[in-house]
Symmetry: C2
C-alpha cells in the first residue's frame, strides 16, 4: 500500500487540525477552487455533482408537498428592501450594492439579494386577491450574496447557492403547520439522504431571522462537536403582509392579511457532509447523493478477459447505480486511495482469480470491510452494501452526537464543559437574552442552538442567572 500511503500523507489528520483537515479535503477531493473574487468559490464538477443530487432529492420532496418553483430578480431596489424594518436592519450591513449600470449611475441603488422575502412579497401583492388564490407555495433555487468578512468554502462564503421557499396562507394555523412541515422535510432529508442526525427546535428571540415571528432550525453536530445551522424555517405571521399591503378577500367577504413562511437550505450542507462523515483518508459520501456510488476497479487488467468481464459487470450495475469503471493506466493503489479521497461509498474489485471463482470483492468506504460476493448476486449485494454504508454512517454520526452532548445544571459546570468538552450542552434558561449574551461572552462563543420540541426538566432554574427556568435549551459553538 505504498501508493496509497503517498496520497494519504497529503491530508492533515482530522484530530490534529480539524480546520486544516477540512480545507485539505475540499481541495484534494476537487470540490472547490478559490477564486479571485474575495469570499466567492468556484464549485468544481465533483462538488457540483453532489449539489445536483441534493437538489434533485429535495426538489422532489418540495414538489410532493405541493410546491412550485419560480424565479425572482437577483436585484432588490433599496426602497423595497427597506419596507420591513427588522428585515432591512438584519441584512443591510451585509449586502452588495450595485450603483452603476454600464457607465450610468443608477437613480436608486440595487442590492444583490441576500434573501428574497421582499421580492416575493412584491409579487404576492399583485397575484393574491381572494382566498381562492391561497395558499401560494413557491420555491426558488438561486444564488444569494451576503458580504462576509471571514469565509470558508461551503460553510461561509459571500455568494452561495441555496433554495428559498416562500409561502402565503389563509390562516395563521396553516402557515404554522407549513413552517413545521418544511422543517420536517429537512429533518427527513438530513437523516434519510445525508445520513446526518440533528437536534431540531425553535430559535430563541435573539437568534431568530430578521423579520420573523418564529424561526425553527435543524442543528447537526460536526465530528469535532461544533454545531452547524443546517437549515431554517420561519413563521412570519402577517408582518410582511402588512408592510407590503398584501390583502385578500376572505370567505367572509372581508379583507384580510395572509400569513407567511419561508425556509431554506444551502450549499453549506456539503460542508456538513464533509465534517460529519469524513475521515483521515478523505470524504465519505452518503450513497444517495454520491456522484459515484460504485467505483469498479479491474485488478491485473492487462490479463485476458479481465476488462471484458469488468465491462459486463459495469453495464449490469449501471442499470441501477452511478458507476465509474476505472480502467485507466494508474496503479491499483492510486485508484483505491483516489476513490477513498473522493468518498465513493462502495468499491468493487475484480481480478483474474475472482473471475475464475465467479466472484468479486466489495469494499465499504466507511468501515473498509471487504466482502466476497458471487457475481450472480452482484446487484443485490451492492445494493445491500450501499444501504449498510448509509446506516453505518448515520449510526456513527448519532453516536458521536450523543457522546458529545452534555448536561449542565450549574454555571460552573456549564463553563467547564464549554471550555473542555466540545459538543452540545443541555441546560435550562430563563428566557432572557441577557443570559445568552453573558454565556456567549464568557465561554468564547457558546450560543443557544435551539429550544427542542420535547424539553427535559433538568432543573428549575436558569443555568446562568439562577432565576426561574422557562426552557431547556441546546447550547453550543457554531460554524
Amino acid at each position: 500500500m505504498a501508493d496509497n500511503k503517498k496520497m494519504v500523507e497529503a491530508i492533515t489528520s482530522r484530530d490534529e487540525d480539524f480546520a486544516k483537515w477540512y480545507t485539505d479535503i475540499v481541495k484534494k477531493a476537487e470540490l472547490v477552487d478559490y477564486s479571485g473574487v474575495k469570499g466567492c468559490m468556484v464549485i468544481r464538477p465533483y462538488g457540483y455533482a453532489i449539489w445536483e443530487n441534493i437538489q434533485a432529492d429535495l426538489d422532489r420532496r418540495f414538489k410532493e408537498t405541493g410546491h412550485e418553483n419560480v424565479y425572482m430578480p437577483m436585484f432588490i431596489p433599496e426602497s423595497l428592501l427597506q419596507k420591513e424594518k427588522d428585515h432591512v436592519e438584519g441584512f443591510a450591513p451585509e449586502v452588495a450594492w450595485v450603483t452603476h449600470g454600464g457607465s450610468e449611475k443608477l437613480t436608486e441603488r440595487l442590492c444583490v439579494r441576500p434573501t428574497s422575502e421582499t421580492l416575493f412579497c412584491e409579487h404576492y401583492s399583485k397575484v393574491i386577491n381572494t382566498y381562492r388564490d391561497l395558499p401560494k407555495l413557491y420555491n426558488q433555487w438561486c444564488s444569494v450574496v451576503r458580504w462576509e468578512k471571514t469565509t470558508r468554502p461551503f460553510l461561509r462564503t459571500s455568494e452561495f447557492l441555496w433554495q428559498e421557499g416562500h409561502t402565503m396562507h389563509e390562516t395563521e394555523q396553516e402557515a404554522q403547520e407549513e413552517t413545521l412541515r418544511m422543517l420536517k422535510v429537512y429533518e427527513d432529508f438530513y437523516r434519510d439522504t445525508l445520513a446526518i442526525p440533528a437536534v431540531v427546535g425553535k430559535k430563541t428571540e435573539k437568534e431568530k431571522f430578521a423579520g420573523a415571528v418564529a424561526t425553527y432550525t435543524i442543528e447537526p453536530m460536526m465530528h469535532n462537536g461544533v454545531a452547524l445551522q443546517g437549515g431554517t424555517s420561519h413563521f412570519f405571521g402577517d408582518g410582511f403582509a402588512k408592510s407590503f399591503d398584501i390583502t385578500f378577500t376572505g370567505r367572509d367577504n372581508k379583507q384580510h392579511y395572509p400569513f407567511q413562511t419561508s425556509w431554506g437550505v444551502s450549499t453549506r450542507m456539503i460542508g456538513a457532509i464533509i465534517m460529519v462523515h469524513g475521515d483521515d483518508d478523505g470524504l465519505i459520501l452518503p450513497p444517495k447523493i454520491s456522484p459515484i456510488q460504485v467505483a469498479l476497479i479491474p485488478v491485473a487488467q492487462h490479463k485476458e478477459g479481465v476488462l471484458d468481464k469488468a465491462n459486463e459487470v459495469a453495464q449490469l450495475l449501471k442499470k441501477q447505480f452511478r458507476v465509474k469503471l476505472d480502467d485507466s493506466d494508474k496503479s491499483l493503489g492510486w485508484k483505491c486511495s483516489q476513490y477513498e479521497m473522493k468518498g465513493v461509498p462502495v468499491r468493487v474489485e475484480l481480478g483474474p482469480k475472482d473471475i475464475e471463482k465467479n466472484q468479486c470483492v466489495i469494499v465499504r468506504r466507511d468501515t473498509r470491510e471487504k466482502i466476497f460476493v458471487s457475481l450472480d448476486n452482484i446487484v443485490e449485494e451492492v445494493e445491500k452494501a450501499l444501504q449498510s454504508v448509509h446506516d453505518g454512517m448515520y449510526q456513527r454520526a448519532l453516536a458521536n452526537m450523543q457522546e458529545k452532548t452534555f448536561t449542565a445544571t450549574t454555571y460552573d459546570e456549564f463553563c467547564d464543559i464549554a471550555k473542555n468538552k466540545p459538543g452540545f450542552i443541555k441546560a435550562m434558561w430563563c428566557g432572557d437574552s441577557a443570559c445568552e449574551e453573558k454565556i456567549k461572552d464568557e465561554t468564547g462563543g457558546v450560543k443557544s442552538r435551539c429550544i427542542p420540541f420535547e424539553e427535559e426538566q433538568l432543573s428549575d432554574v436558569c443555568v446562568c442567572c439562577g432565576k426561574k427556568a422557562k426552557h431547556q435549551v441546546y447550547w453550543g459553538k457554531q460554524y
Copy 2:
C-alpha cells in the same frame, strides 16, 4: 362557446398587433410578472416549469456529449474583465457594477457577470497543466446580467437565465469540432424538442461575439417573419488562453496554449416558442416541454361515475405523461379556453355518453381536430396525438419560414423586400462590413443573420455594392 369567447377577447389578434399579442400571452398564460426592478422579470410557476423541462432535456444532451456542470462566482473583478481587450470592449458598456459591500466601498469594482469567459479562464489557468488534463468540458446553469435600455419579457431582459458551456482543447481542430458539435446539439434540440426549424451558419465578423475568432448561430424565424438569435457557439482559438496565460505541457513535452470554445442558450427560447407557435387563443406548447401534456376534462362531472372514470383514466395516463385532471367547479367552456391559453397540446374530454361507449374525445391544441378513441387504447392514442401535434407544429413553422424566405439579386429588390415582406432575404455579399452597415441603415435594421454552411450561388456580385461576392448570406430584422 360564450365562455370561451369571453376569455379569448382579452387577447389582441396576432395579425393585428404582434407585439401586443405577445405581451398579452405572456401575461394571460401566467408566464411572467413584471417586477419593480427595471428590466428584470419574475418567472412565474408555469413559465418556470417550461424552463425546467428545457433544462432537463438540454442537460441530458450536454452530459451525453461528455460535459460536466460547475458553478463560477457571479462577480468579475474589473481587472479580470479587462484581461481580454475585445471582450471587455464588447461587454463593459452593459454591465452592472457593484461598488459597495455593506457600508464599505470596495477597493476594486466588481461587475455582475454578463458571461463568464474570464472566470472560466482564471480557473482553467490553475487546473490545466498537461495534455492529460484536456479536454475540459464544462457547463454552467446560472443567471447573467446585461444592462438593457429597452426590455421585453424573455426576449431582452437585464437579467436572464441561461447555460454557458466553456471548453478547452488540446488542438485547434478539436475545439472547432466542439464548436460545431454544440451548434448541432442546439439545432437538434430546437427541431426535436421545441418543434422549431431554423437557419444555421456562421456570423459575419461584424456580428460575432466579443473576443471570438468565429461565432456560429441558430436563427429561427418568428411567425411574423422577424428573426431571433436562438443560440450561439463560439470558437475562440487560443486568444483568451494567451491573455490569461493558460498553458499545458503537450505530448511533445513543450508548452502550448489550449484552444477554447463557449456556447449558450437562454430563457429567450421561451420567447421563440411563443412567437413561432402561438395563435389568437394563446400559447401552443411543444409536447416535450409542456408542463401539462394532457388536460383531462370531465364533462357533466356531477353525474354518477364520471369523476371515478376520469380519475381512473388520469392514473393510467400519468404513468407516461404529465397530466392535469381538472375537476374544479369552473365551466367546461372556461376550462377549455384556459388550457388553450396555456398551450396544453392535448385535451381529453370524458362525459357520461363517452363512458357508456367506452370512449373519450382527444382534442389537439394546434388544429382543434377532435378524435374519438376507445378507452382501451387511450395511452397509445394520446401518445400518437402528442407526436402529431409536435410534427404539425414543426411543419407549420417550417412552411412559414419557407414562405417568408425571399431571394434578392439587386439592391432595389433587396430594399423592396425589406420594406414590404417581413422574413429572411437570401442575397450575395462581398464580405465588407461597410455593406452590412449600409444595408442596416437604409432598411430600418436588416442585419446579416448568418452565412449558411451550404451556400447557394445566387449571383456573382454583392447585392449592395456590386463588387465580387464572397458569400451567400441570410439577412433579416431581429428581436
